[in-house]
Subunit: 211 residues, 2 copies
Amino acid sequence: MVEDREISQAVIGRLPRYFRYLGELKDQGIERVSSQELSDIMRVTASQIRQDLNNFGGFGQQGYGYKVESLYDEIGRILGLDKEHNLIIVGAGHLGQALVNYMNFERRGFIFRGIFDIDERIQGTQIRGITVRPMEEMEEFVRGNDIDIAVLTIPKTGALEVAERLVACGIRGFWNFAHVDLHVPDNIQVENVHLSDSLMKLSYNILSHID
Amino acid sequence: MVEDREISQAVIGRLPRYFRYLGELKDQGIERVSSQELSDIMRVTASQIRQDLNNFGGFGQQGYGYKVESLYDEIGRILGLDKEHNLIIVGAGHLGQALVNYMNFERRGFIFRGIFDIDERIQGTQIRGITVRPMEEMEEFVRGNDIDIAVLTIPKTGALEVAERLVACGIRGFWNFAHVDLHVPDNIQVENVHLSDSLMKLSYNILSHID
């Protein structure tokens, strides 16, 4: 078994996609797949696939291919999907509600435990059975419920202060939808989903393919 | 003026972030910024900034810095934000509703013109003044309303077929939230937002920083 920390961020970034395709093959009852077959369905080169998957040792064999289920399980383990993460979401607007209502995260071990919002009118209401709480209760909730991930679906104006408060009470990672870069200590992980940035890139690519 | 098409995808991917920071400086009434100052607030190296921004010629001068507003406008132009894009959204669930309700896209010229959903119970209802239409009307609507971008917020099972129908009626780009890779002709642009992938990467990074 290779140590997780030797795997590059570039490979890590590609793992969820392998995980998705292997999951589909597994659901179809397929037991083995060659790098060439994977290459055909994933539309990346077979050599890239071999290089990436070699990081996990032992699963590929010349002329035999990869064992789908073992490789799927191993990638899931590397990604930490065999463990539970406890999440809070800060910001119960449309996007926050959409994320809480998306069941697939829960299937993967990402469990929404608490929802917080600054708006008194929605405090006390429930989203998928989870009560929306006032911001003042956030720290105590995080400490008392072993919360490791905070999802920020608030406007950028409040995000930096909220992030600071969460760092102070021991949060380990942010899934950040606020349109601002969080500045947190190096041991805190941030994964940004900047929707506008993605839409702007699409706009560029469409325009540069028109002429 | 440098031709847009000479700029690498890596640089393009970073442009929205420059655009965001320059917009903030502009809002603060700042007229000039040096690469070193930008480096400090954006936390990337000054040489990376100089290299990236040199793609747009003429805006930086030794000992003078960049003209904030000109550079902001120029990057906006490169990204196509001086033009309007007409969007439809397919899938009026929580995520679709969240995107339609997010006003900032409209401020940037991305205008939601139509919403489509397979669920008869919500057809005819409105989201921010836009009527939810049946899927059967999609092609005619796209052709008749100069729609260039389709936002897919539907489960992966239906996404490939919907994408194929949209390609056939002339869509130019997909903003794809469905958890599947679209296979479309090379002249059609796809920007994926795979939320689960992003969450899995966060999970990995948290676990690999625990020991």
